[in-house]
Amino acid sequence: MATKGGVFRKPNPWTTAIVAVIVAVFFSFPYVVMVISSLKTRAEITQQPPDYLPTSPQWVNYLDVWGYQAVDPGQALLSSIVVALGATLLVLLVATPASYYVARYRFPGRMAFLLLVLITQMLQPTVLAIGLYVEFVQWKGYLVWLALILINAAFNLSFAVWIMQSFFASVPKEIDEAAMLDGLGRLQTMFKVSLPLVWPGIVTAIIFVFVNTWNEYAAAFVLRNDKLQTLPVAIPSFLGQYVKEWHFMFATAVVAMIPVIILFSMIEKRLIGGLTAGAVK
């Protein structure tokens, strides 16, 4: 372990502690500022120069923000939830059979398929945003939700296929073969035998797609309409030309931030394998 042989010499605990504190502060200060700012009154947040802390934390901001007329954060929250859940579900439905088959069978066109999947992983909605706009501009009203579900599912599909196929591939083929000898069809084998074994891979894919969709900006921006916007598009619009509701904006931001932080930290360990498509082990 750490003390053996001199190579893995224990680092100086004081230096380590100081560096650790610097790193911790560096990576959390914007979010701490966000929370503190969401607890200020309107007068405090627009004061010049500003004070660092509110005189008393205004938890009531977290209630009042929902009644704010100009932006409607409730609608934005609902839009984000619908789009993120929809895209996640769609990815799961579409990616599961593909990743299972690719992991289990060799067939002509398999490499071409994986290549296509990897290319879409490298592309992003931003570079195709104008094309997506032209494709979906006629989808009015709640159809915007469907458009965003399709877009986010398509661009996150590749990560899901990739990580799930690597999990399926790690389950010994013999288990499947035994099940099929016992008379189960391919589809039944996948659902009853393989799926329960690759659960961690599926959870990783689900959470990753959810968080990515929750945070997606470019497509949601070009397809927004006055009534329906996701949180990343709605949040900056708390800042009008003349009225800037910083405290309400940050209260909404904190609400938008907490669920994804929890979800993301759950899959922390498995993020890498899928993202770099197996280049790093």
């Binding site: 750490a2 042989g5 605990p13 790193v23 990576f27 959390s28 914007p30 979010y31 700012s37 627009t46 010049q48 120069p49 500003p50 660092y52 769609l90 990616a95 059979p97 593909a98 299972y100 088959y101 069978y105 067939f107 002509p108 490499m111 398929f113 296509l116 999947v117 990897l118 290319i119 490298m122 931003t126 570079v127 195709l128 104008i130 094309g131 706009y133 032209v134 494709e135 599912a153 398509a154 661009f155 196929q165 945070n215 900006y217 470019a218 070009v222 990343p232 949040i235 900056p236 940050f250 938008a256 931030m257 932080i261 930290s265 922390e268 890498i272 993202l275 770099t276 280049a279 790093v280």
Partner: protein
């Protein structure tokens, strides 16, 4: 050993195998065809169509969206020198600084110390929180009047008076460079951490026994083994940074064709002011650049070798 099969029969068997795979792959293929490939085609088509100021289609436009009177590359008042310089600086500085800082950070986070797990989770924050949320904090903090970071910079004596960073396109651009590095660090650090874990301990011990000091061990043993991780992270970062929209637009309080644009933010400015035709023309240039980077990714990282 398989027996030699007649070519005709082999071909029909291969076709049968491909057909058996189709139902399993069809939903994925449909989604990619409909929402990735089709919009790419639409974008190329749109680039050669004329739109009026209400965004209504007027018919074929030839190359006028590219080089016409109001074309993407010839539109007056666009400060093209700044746009090209910004785009190059944006990608090069952000990607290189991110890599340098991530190498240091990953080295530190791979050490064994109490609280390491919690610290690794904190490093993940800018990745989990949307870029939009992170950027709005910097936009607020750096306001000339109400900005809390400005207050801090004045209190610590770094600035004499608060500065309106977001009002000045050049200052806003450099703040955006900082924020872009900031939000790219978690992914890059985690990729390099994964690479560090693949360096076997006994090789490091052998190098130590052979008399290599810490610096030599890093540059001659660890760093070469990190190359695949660095290549993958760098190429993915180039695409992400190049396509980054919200950081630059949210941090810039100026409108119009100011000197803080990159080609990506300019596309959305064109779309708002000149319509989808001109915006598509510029998008195609961006799209082709991304395809080149993707080609490099496949050439250098060879991601498909894992699944032979």
């Amino acid at each position: 050993m398989s027996l030699p099969v007649a070519p005709g029969r082999a071909r029909s068997r291969r076709r049968k195998e491909a057909l058996a795979a189709l139902p399993w792959l069809a939903p994925t293929l449909l989604l990619i065809a409909g929402v990735v490939i089709y919009p790419a085609y639409l974008m190329f088509w749109t680039a050669f169509q004329k739109y009026n100021s209400y965004g209504i289609l007027q018919g074929p436009a030839g190359w006028s969206n590219f080089f016409g009177k109001g074309g993407a590359f010839t539109f007056p008042t666009v400060p093209w020198t700044s746009v090209w310089t910004n785009t190059v600086i944006w990608v090069v500085v952000v990607v290189i600084m991110t890599l340098a800082l991530s190498l240091l950070l990953a080295q530190f986070l791979s050490k064994d110390f109490p609280g390491r797990k919690a610290l690794r989770l904190l490093v993940l924050l800018p990745w989990a929180c949307s870029v939009v949320l992170t950027t709005t904090v910097f936009r607020y903090g750096l306001q000339g009047d109400v900005g809390i970071f400005n207050r801090f910079l004045v209190d610590t004596g770094i600035l004499n008076v608060p500065y309106g960073f977001t009002k000045d396109p050049t200052a806003a651009f450099w703040v955006a460079v900082f924020v872009a590095i900031y939000v790219s660090l978690p992914f890059t650090t985690y990729t390099i951490l994964a690479g560090l874990q693949s360096v076997p301990n006994d090789i490091l011990e052998a190098a130590h026994v052979d008399g290599a000091n810490a610096v030599q061990r890093y540059w001659q043993v660890v760093f070469p083994m990190l190359r695949p991780a660095i290549a993958a992270a760098t190429l993915i970062n180039i695409i992400n940074v190049f396509n980054s929209l919200p950081i630059l637009t949210i941090l810039n309080d100026n409108g119009g064709y100011h000197t803080g644009h990159t080609t990506t933010t300019l596309i959305f400015q064109f779309k708002a002011q000149l319509g989808p035709g001109v915006a598509s023309a510029l998008s195609i240039a961006n799209f082709l650049f991304c395809l080149v980077v993707v080609a490099f990714y496949f050439w250098i990282v060879k991601p498909t070798k894992e699944v032979q």
